[in-house]
């Protein structure tokens, strides 16, 4: 479980996040949704410690993460896997080396054991016969899947995904969503996904937090989101014309 309490974050005096308090539950796919520029990515990066927060508390289970020093943060970070918007695979390393990287850095396994783990992670995300390819030789969907394989290689307790569907076609996007959901259940992880894709919301949104203008506007699940009377949320959820017609048939 990850708990955020009264989080404030600003850049050069401009407030980006204001008084965010939310609990992300273990074994569930937790979604942070909102419009572009609403502060989703800042929130995600603040939780994992890539950005220093102005005030507030970030708890990983019973550990106050944001007050730890670099050395102690490393212990928690060894339990974190993260999927970045652009995949963030290391260009100079092959697929196999990318997935093996966390194992090389943080385990004392033999090369054979590490390669076994790499292959099982790649199999799990359906990447076949691509071990020796470089990231530049992969499609967008393959890059995301390799990045997921790298993220799970150390059996993380926490998985963070920043816009996992961006730049993907709808079918590949659904496959990535399903993969994230399956892995969350399989590894009993606390997964936090940042998205503005309503398909993802309806596919995997077990817990949803809606952010607007840096503030938490709404919290619920995928069933509740369709019947909410929160106007800001409805503007976002029913933004496209098809959804609008379904929601407001008389208009």
């Amino acid at each position: 479980m990850i708990r955020v309490e009264n989080l404030y974050k600003s850049f050069n005096g401009k407030s980006i996040l204001e008084d965010i308090s939310v609990t992300f539950e273990t074994g569930k796919t937790n979604l942070i949704i909102g419009r572009s520029g609403s502060g989703k990515t800042v929130l995600l990066k603040s939780i994992v410690g890539l950005l220093e927060i102005n005030s507030g508390e970030i708890w990983f289970e019973d550990v106050l993460f944001n007050k730890l020093d670099f050395k102690d943060k490393k212990v928690i970070r060894s339990e974190i896997g993260m999927l970045f918007q652009g995949s963030a695979l290391f260009d100079s390393l092959t697929v196999e080396q990318n997935v093996r990287f966390p194992l090389d850095m943080f385990t004392t396994k033999t090369l054979e054991e590490k390669n076994d783990r790499v292959n099982s992670c790649l199999d799990r995300v359906n990447i076949i016969n691509a071990n020796k390819l470089f990231p530049a030789e992969l499609s967008g969907g393959m890059k995301k899947r390799v990045a997921i394989a790298r993220a799970i290689s150390l059996n993380p307790k926490y998985l963070f995904c920043d816009e996992p569907n961006s730049g993907l076609d709808p079918i590949t996007a659904i496959l990535i969503d399903e993969l994230i959901k399956e892995l969350t259940e399989e590894y009993a992880m606390t997964t936090i996904v940042n998205t503005h894709d309503m398909n993802s919301v309806m596919e995997i949104g077990e817990k949803i937090v809606f952010i607007s203008d840096g503030k938490k506007c709404w919290e619920g699940n995928k069933n509740e989101i369709l019947i909410s009377d929160n106007e800001t949320l409805n503007d976002f959820v029913f933004a496209n014309s098809l959804a609008k017609k379904i929601r407001y048939p008389d208009k």
Binding site: L50, K73, R77, S78, I80, M82, G86, A88, L89, M105
Partner: protein, 247 residues
């Protein structure tokens, strides 16, 4: 002024991160070997070509400016040798490497920053500054002196070939000149300068690349800044080191 001081402060904070204890020495060793090839071996070609022609030009210019019969011909070889050792093979080669290696480092790290690869390292708990920059510094500190020695040898050889082919002196005069009044300390002086310049090129370029914010445009700007700032610092330290080591 405040911005300048904050940048200097940030540079030293980065160096502190760079020189902290490596997570796993074997991984750093492999990374350093990779940088030896990437930053060192790939520079041998350009250093060889440039040094050959620098030596040739120095020899010809010395010859045409000392045509007076009172100057002995072996002075041409001596001039070529000392020019290459004292200045060209260390400072000029460093300026060329600031262009080649410096822009390479800044654009590599800058691209890694904007494509979130550095964030990915941080999330894993890796000290990204140390992992990415320390191997580059070690590789250039160890390899650039070798490049300087190659440059000295090839430059003097180029001078001998050019001078002989142009008929401005005999090979015997040149060989006598490059042996005449040789001061071994000049080699030490040249290598000490090279080590300082290598550190400047790698650390300043890494600093520019590591803290890039934005996109490809900013990566390009960081790359240019890396070359300009490294070159200016090389010239500044050239004066300081010369005064300290030769006075």
């Amino acid at each position: 002024m405040i911005r300048f001081l904050s940048q200097v402060g940030l540079y030293f904070l980065l160096l502190k991160k760079v020189f902290s204890k490596p997570e796993k020495p074997i991984v750093y060793y492999k990374q350093t070997m990779r940088e030896f090839v990437y930053l060192g071996l790939t520079s041998v070609g350009i250093i060889t070509i440039i040094s050959f022609f620098m030596g040739a030009v120095i020899t010809l210019q010395t010859a045409y400016n000392t045509e007076n019969p009172i100057y002995p011909k072996y002075l041409i070889g001596l001039g070529c040798r000392d020019s290459m050792i004292l200045e060209f093979s260390s400072t000029i080669a460093a300026l060329i490497l600031a262009g080649k290696v410096g822009s390479n480092i800044a654009s590599e790290l800058g691209t890694m920053r904007v494509s979130e690869q550095i964030d990915a390292l941080e999330i894993m708990g890796v000290n990204s500054a140390s992992y990415l920059i320390l191997p580059k510094i070690i590789a250039t500190l160890l390899f650039n002196p070798i490049l300087t020695l190659i440059s000295i040898i090839v430059g003097i050889f180029g001078g001998g070939i050019a001078g002989t082919l142009a008929g401005v002196m005999t090979p015997e005069n040149f060989i006598y000149g490059i042996q005449y009044a040789f001061i071994p300390y000049y080699i030490v002086y040249s290598l000490i300068k090279t080590v300082f310049f290598a550190f400047i090129i790698t650390s300043v370029s890494s600093f520019q690349g590591y803290y890039v914010e934005g996109g490809s445009l900013e990566v390009g700007r960081a790359s240019s800044k890396a070359v300009v700032y490294s070159s200016v610092l090389i010239l500044l330290f050239n004066v300081i080191l010369t005064q300290l080591l030769l006075s």
